[in-house]
């Protein structure tokens, strides 16, 4: 039951993009096409789950044990950067097809604040390992949901005449704002 609440909360109620403002750069940048945004969502989900798992273990069994939790930021980002690079290198060799689908987004993910943000939030919320993984997964799903919906709208808008001054990023923000407004309706479903 707790897991379901975590999922609903992360996907709809406290959507990572629309209410927590994490991962805005890729949200705006990689959402021109539905297909690419699906690739991005997949890549984020993949990395986020692994990264959260690894950082969780690091935090619990090394940083806390040594009494230096304040090293969180430095350690996490270093690990995430290394991890992303590792995944990229391995994927390229092991599964070129998957690399084609997800790989091109991997460099973007290092500086995607959702990964670090979710890793830190999972620690802050004092989840256990399984909860952290579910939390990471559902946040990635929430990110994907927002991204793909958004890409759908933008793809449709590509076919009509938007006022010139609104084209591109400004209109993307307006859509994001209206979408976030719609999602506010879910407020309170999970306390």
């Amino acid at each position: 039951m707790d897991y379901i609440l975590i999922i609903i909360s992360a996907v709809f109620v406290n959507n990572i993009v629309m209410t927590q403002f994490l991962g805005i750069c890729p949200f705006i940048g990689v959402s021109n096409k539905v297909d690419t945004s699906m690739g991005m969502a997949g890549a984020v989900m993949f990395v986020m789950v692994i990264a959260t798992m690894v950082t969780y273990l690091l935090q619990q069994y090394i940083l806390e044990w040594l009494g230096i939790p304040f090293m969180q930021t430095v350690v996490f980002i270093l690990v995430i950067a290394a991890l992303v690079q590792l995944v990229e290198i391995i994927l390229k060799k092991v599964s070129p097809a998957m690399y084609q689908a997800l790989g091109i987004f991997l460099p973007l993910i290092t500086t995607n604040c959702t990964i670090l943000g979710v890793a830190i939030l999972a620690v802050q919320k004092e989840y256990n390992l399984m909860e952290s993984v579910v939390y990471a997964f559902s946040n990635a799903a929430g990110f994907g949901l927002a991204l793909i919906t958004f890409a759908g709208i933008r793809e449709q808008l590509d076919l009509v005449n938007i006022p010139k001054s609104m084209k591109g990023v400004p209109i993307a923000f307006i859509i994001a704002g209206l979408l976030a407004m719609a999602f506010m309706g879910f407020a309170g479903i999970v306390k």
Binding site: F70, M71, V74, L78, G188, K191
Partner: protein
């Protein structure tokens, strides 16, 4: 000078040096800021008590008492100046519209409400958040009142003398309930002058 080549020793050495330097610096700065950080955290913790209570110079947390009211157990913190009881802060809560409303209520020794601080709430912005002093005059109704002769209940319900926040009756009721609970705890806690 030419760029360093990316061979194994160079890479390892560079990373080691960089991490060594930055971790050393971090450890050092951590030591430096340790004290101020602790001070700040302590201040934050006591701030609410300082706001709701009159002047005191004891450690209210050290003298904290836990009092059971109904199913709940409430924390109460007595404030004393030179061992004379100046007031009692009671931490209380009640379920509102969006979640628990947590209040810290400062009572004068005679049971009069001095000041109420909202520790935490999840009420709707623009409606239920009028329990904040910065948002409306609703909390002012309680200041200077003694629950002995001020009925804590919403006037519209016929249950008391409090004017509810319009369109937020649930929040208003919860607020009254929390204050009532705190008052009960205060009575039960029997904090006296030492």
């Amino acid at each position: 000078m030419a760029k360093k080549e990316s061979n194994f020793t160079n890479m390892l050495a560079t990373l080691l040096i960089v991490t060594f330097a930055s971790s050393a610096a971090l450890g050092f700065i951590y030591e430096l800021t340790k004290k101020p950080i602790e001070d700040a955290l302590l201040y934050k913790k006591t701030l609410a008590v300082q706001i709701v209570l009159p002047e005191f110079n004891n450690d209210p947390f050290g003298e904290a008492k836990r009092v059971a009211v109904g199913k709940d157990t409430l924390n109460i913190y007595p404030g004393r100046k030179d061992s004379v009881l100046t007031g009692v802060a009671v931490e209380t809560s009640a379920p509102g519209y969006g979640g628990d409303i947590r209040l810290l209520i400062g009572f004068l020794p005679d049971g009069t409400i001095r000041e109420v601080a909202v520790l935490e709430h999840k009420e709707t912005a623009g409606l239920g958040d009028k329990i904040l002093k910065s948002k409306s005059d609703f909390p002012l109704q309680f200041e200077g009142k003694n629950p002995d002769n001020f009925k804590l209940g919403v006037r519209k319900d016929g249950a008391g003398e409090v004017d509810a926040i319009s369109a937020s009756t649930i929040t208003s009721r919860a607020y009254c309930k929390a204050v009532q609970k705190a008052y009960d705890a205060l009575k039960k806690g029997e904090i006296e002058n030492e």
